[in-house]
C-alpha cells in the first residue's frame, strides 16, 4: 500500500486532488481511498487531505502519519506546517514552487521535486488552480499511477473545456517530472502523533478564551495577491481601512519631525505637479498595510476612489 498526504490551503482543491488520485488509481485497477481531515477551514487556511492506493481492499481508516509521498500545493505552508512529518525513507515530496528543490526550505536529506505548478496553471488553465497540475507531476515523479488514468479521472470530474485544459496542464507537469532524475531520501522523518497540537498550555474550564488571541494566526500567508498602496496619490479618505474584513489596514498619524518631513516632501511633490493638494496636506497621515494579516481579497483596491491601490501577485 502507498500512502499520500496532500497539504494545501482551503480553496486550492486539496481534497479534490486526493479524490481524483483515488479515482485514477481505481481506473488503474487498484483499491484506493481518499478523505480529508474534516476541518472548518475557510479559503486560505491550511488543509490536509489523504489518499491510499493498494492492491488489496483497504480497511485502515486512520489519518496518514508515515506517508510514502507528500504533495505540497503551496510552498508557503512549509514554514507553517511540518509537511514532511513521518515521511518514509524512500519518500518523495512534490512541492509547487518555481524555486529549485534545494531552495524550498526542506531538509537536505529529503527527495524533493519542485514544479512551478502555479506558472503552468496560469499559463494553460488561466487560473492559479494547481491541483490537477500537481497530479500530473505526481504520476511523473512516482510512477504509481498512469497519466492516462489521471486524465480520465480529471475528465470525468470536469467535463468539457475546463477538463481539457486541466488535462493539458497535468500532462505538461507529467513530462517535466519524468525527465527529472531521482535522488532518494536517506532517512525517515520523525513522525508526529496525530494532528499537530498547537499548544501545550493548560486548558481552562469550559473552553473560555482570551480576547484577540486569533492574532497569532498569520492569515497573510493565505494571499495570492497583495495590495500596493500609492501613498503619494492617497487622499486619506479611509475607505480602504473601512473595507477590510481583516483589520489589516491601519491608520497612523506621524508626529513631530517625522510629520514635518513628510509634509515637506509632499509639498515639494505637489509643487512639481506629482501629487494632488489633498494628498499633500495630509501627508503625515498614513494608511498602512499589515502584511501579517492581509488575505489579499482586493476589496480595498476595488473601493479606493482614486485607484491608488494595485493588487500585485505575491512572490512566494
Amino acid at each position: 500500500m502507498k500512502e499520500v498526504r496532500i497539504h494545501g490551503r482551503g480553496g486550492q482543491g486539496s481534497v479534490t486532488a486526493a479524490e481524483l488520485l483515488a479515482v485514477a488509481a481505481f481506473e488503474d485497477g487498484k483499491f484506493s481511498q481518499a478523505f480529508p481531515f474534516f476541518g472548518v477551514e475557510r479559503r486560505g487556511a491550511p488543509v490536509t487531505a489523504f489518499a491510499r492506493l493498494s492492491d488489496k481492499k483497504i480497511r485502515l481508516r486512520s489519518q496518514i502519519y508515515e506517508p510514502d509521498y507528500v504533495i505540497v500545493q503551496d510552498a508557503t505552508l512549509i514554514s507553517a506546517v511540518d509537511v514532511t512529518a513521518g515521511l518514509k525513507p524512500d519518500g518523495i515530496v512534490i512541492v509547487n514552487s518555481e524555486k529549485s528543490a534545494e531552495d524550498v526550505g526542506l531538509d537536505a536529506g529529503i527527495d524533493v521535486r519542485t514544479i512551478d505548478a502555479t506558472g503552468i496553471a496560469l499559463d494553460i488553465i488561466g487560473r492559479p488552480i494547481v491541483n490537477t497540475t500537481l497530479l500530473g507531476a505526481f504520476a511523473g515523479a512516482t510512477g504509481e499511477i498512469g497519466i492516462d488514468s489521471i486524465k480520465q479521472s480529471i475528465l470525468a470530474r470536469f467535463p468539457g473545456k475546463i477538463g481539457e485544459v486541466n488535462v493539458q496542464a497535468a500532462e505538461k507537469a507529467y513530462k517535466l517530472m519524468t525527465s527529472a532524475k531521482r535522488k532518494p531520501s536517506k532517512k525517515s522523518r520523525p513522525r508526529k502523533n496525530g494532528t499537530a497540537y498547537e499548544s501545550h498550555e493548560k486548558i481552562p474550564i469550559g473552553a473560555i478564551g482570551k480576547p484577540g488571541t486569533s492574532e497569532v494566526t498569520r492569515t497573510g500567508d493565505w494571499r495570492v495577491f497583495y495590495p500596493e498602496f500609492d501613498m503619494d496619490q492617497c487622499s486619506r479618505c479611509g475607505k480602504c481601512l473601512e473595507s477590510c474584513p481583516d483589520a489589516a489596514i491601519h491608520k497612523r498619524e506621524l508626529t513631530g519631525r517625522e510629520a514635518t518631513e513628510a509634509l515637506k516632501r509632499a509639498e515639494e511633490l505637489e509643487k512639481a505637479g506629482k501629487i494632488k493638494k489633498a494628498a499633500a496636506k495630509k501627508a503625515h497621515i498614513l494608511y498602512e498595510l499589515d502584511p501579517m494579516y492581509c488575505k489579499g481579497c482586493g476589496i480595498c483596491a476595488n473601493e479606493c476612489p482614486i485607484q491608488g491601490i494595485k493588487m500585485k501577485l505575491e512572490e512566494k
Partner: protein, 394 residues
C-alpha cells in the same frame, strides 16, 4: 420550624431562600405550581429576581445560560416534554460549566401522552453532564434546592444540577415541611461569585468550539468534575446537617441493610413505601433491606459496591425503560457489580411507569421474586396487565 404545604410551594420558598438573580421557566404539568408560586413571590415583592417568561423550555435554559455566564445565580424548573425540548441546551450548559439549578418534576414522556410520574424524562438526560439527585419527600426536595446551589457553584466542580422530584406524588402533595431559616441559608450559601463571567472590563470568550486536539480533554475535565461531585455532594450534605440539624444522607441511603439478604434499590418518593415494606418483611422474619439511590449522576459506584458486599440478592426498581434493553438503573448497577467479590444475584424490575401506583404489595412481589430466585432475562415488568396485551408474534 415546620409547616404543612404543597410540595411545589415548598420548592418556591426554597428558591426564594436561595436568592437567585434570574428565573426563567415555561409552564408544564406538573411543574406549574412551582413557577406560579415563584411568580407570586416576585409579584408580592418577596423575591427579588428577574423572572423571564420565556416562550419555550429551550429558551428557558438558554436564558439561564446567558444569565449564568454573566455572573447571575439562575433557576429553572421543568419536566417531561419540556426537559426533552431542552436536550441540546442541557449539554451546552454543562459543557460551559454553568452552575444552573433546575427542579425536574419527573413525568413520563409521550407518546402516548401521559402527565403522570415516572423517571423517563431525567433518565433520558443522564449523559448531559448534569448532576441528578432524586428526592424522597418534600423536606428533602426543599433542602436539596439550597444544597444544589452550593454543590453546583463549588469552584472545584462547576456543574449544573437537577433536583428530581416526582411529579404529583411530591409536587402536588401536602405534607409537613421543615422550613428554611433565611439567616441560616444566607450563612450557608454565600452569593454567587464566579471567577469567569462576561464583563466589558475583562472581555472573555465563552462557548468556543474545540477541534479534535482539544475536545477530548475538555470532555475529560468535565467528566472528572462529575466524579469529584461525589465528594462535594456528601460534603455539602454533611455541612447542611451541621447548620440546619437535618441531613438526607450522601449519595445513597442504606435502610436496614445490616445483615440483609435481599436488598431493593429505588429512587425518588417511592422509597418511603419501600422502607415501610422492608419493615413489614423484617417483622415477618424476612431479612429485607433497601437502598435509596440519591445521586444517579454521578453514579455512586463505590457506595453501592460496599452496601451490597454481603447480600444474597439485589433487586432494582426502574421507573424507566431503555426500550429494547432494560431499565437504565439496572444496567448501571449490574456493571457496577461486575468483578466484585460475592456478586449478588441481580433482579431488574420495571414498574410505576406513567403514574401507575406502586403500593407495598408491588414491592412484596419483587422481594418474592428475589427470594424464590426466579430467573429473569432483562427487566421484569411488575403489575403488567397481561390480559390486555396483544402482540404480533415474530
Amino acid at each position: 420550624m415546620i409547616d404543612i404545604m404543597e410540595g411545589s410551594h415548598a420548592i418556591a420558598l426554597a428558591v426564594k431562600a436561595a436568592r437567585p438573580n434570574v428565573v426563567a421557566a415555561y409552564p408544564i404539568t406538573p411543574q406549574t405550581h412551582i413557577v406560579e408560586d415563584i411568580s407570586q413571590l416576585i409579584a408580592d415583592g418577596d423575591l427579588e429576581a428577574e423572572y423571564v417568561k420565556v416562550e419555550s423550555e429551550h429558551s428557558a435554559m438558554s436564558v439561564c445560560i446567558g444569565a449564568s455566564a454573566t455572573g447571575a445565580r439562575t433557576y429553572t424548573a421543568t419536566t417531561s416534554q419540556g426537559l426533552a425540548l431542552m436536550h441540546e441546551v442541557l449539554f451546552n450548559a454543562a459543557g460551559m460549566r454553568l452552575p444552573i439549578v433546575m427542579t425536574v418534576a419527573n413525568r413520563a414522556l409521550s407518546a402516548p401522552l401521559n402527565i403522570w410520574n415516572d423517571h423517563q424524562d431525567s433518565i433520558s438526560e443522564r449523559d448531559s453532564g448534569w448532576i441528578q439527585i432524586y428526592v424522597e419527600d418534600n423536606t428533602e426536595a426543599s433542602d436539596l434546592t439550597i444544597q444544589a446551589y452550593k454543590i453546583a457553584e463549588d469552584r472545584r466542580i462547576q456543574v449544573p444540577i437537577m433536583v428530581c422530584m416526582d411529579g404529583y406524588t411530591l409536587t402536588h402533595t401536602y405534607e409537613p415541611v421543615e422550613l428554611l431559616d433565611q439567616d441560616l441559608v444566607d450563612d450557608f450559601l454565600p452569593p454567587y461569585a464566579p471567577t469567569d463571567y462576561l464583563s466589558v472590563d475583562d472581555p472573555k470568550t465563552f462557548g468556543m468550539f474545540a477541534d479534535p486536539n482539544y475536545y477530548t480533554e475538555f470532555r475529560y475535565q468535565n467528566h472528572r468534575a462529575l466524579e469529584a461531585a461525589k465528594t462535594v455532594i456528601a460534603e455539602v450534605s454533611r455541612e447542611f446537617g451541621e447548620v440546619f440539624g437535618r441531613d438526607h444522607g450522601g449519595l445513597i441511603e442504606e435502610y436496614r441493610c445490616d445483615g440483609a439478604e435481599y436488598v431493593l434499590i429505588a429512587m425518588g418518593s417511592v422509597v418511603g413505601t419501600l422502607k415501610d415494606t422492608v419493615d413489614d418483611l423484617r417483622e415477618a422474619g424476612i431479612r429485607a433491606g433497601a437502598i435509596k439511590l440519591r445521586s444517579y449522576r454521578p453514579f455512586p459506584v463505590e457506595d453501592i459496591r460496599s452496601a451490597l458486599a454481603d447480600v444474597q440478592a439485589v433487586g432494582i426498581l426502574d421507573k424507566n425503560i431503555s426500550l429494547g434493553y432494560e431499565g437504565a438503573l439496572s444496567a448501571d448497577v449490574k456493571s457496577t457489580l461486575y468483578r466484585t467479590n460475592n456478586t449478588p444475584e441481580v433482579f431488574s424490575f420495571v414498574a410505576g411507569l406513567g403514574g401507575r401506583d406502586i403500593p407495598k404489595g408491588t414491592f412484596v412481589k419483587m422481594f418474592d421474586w428475589m427470594r424464590e430466585d426466579k430467573k429473569i432475562s432483562t427487566s421484569e415488568f411488575i403489575d403488567l396487565r397481561t390480559e390486555i396485551l396483544e402482540f404480533q408474534e415474530v
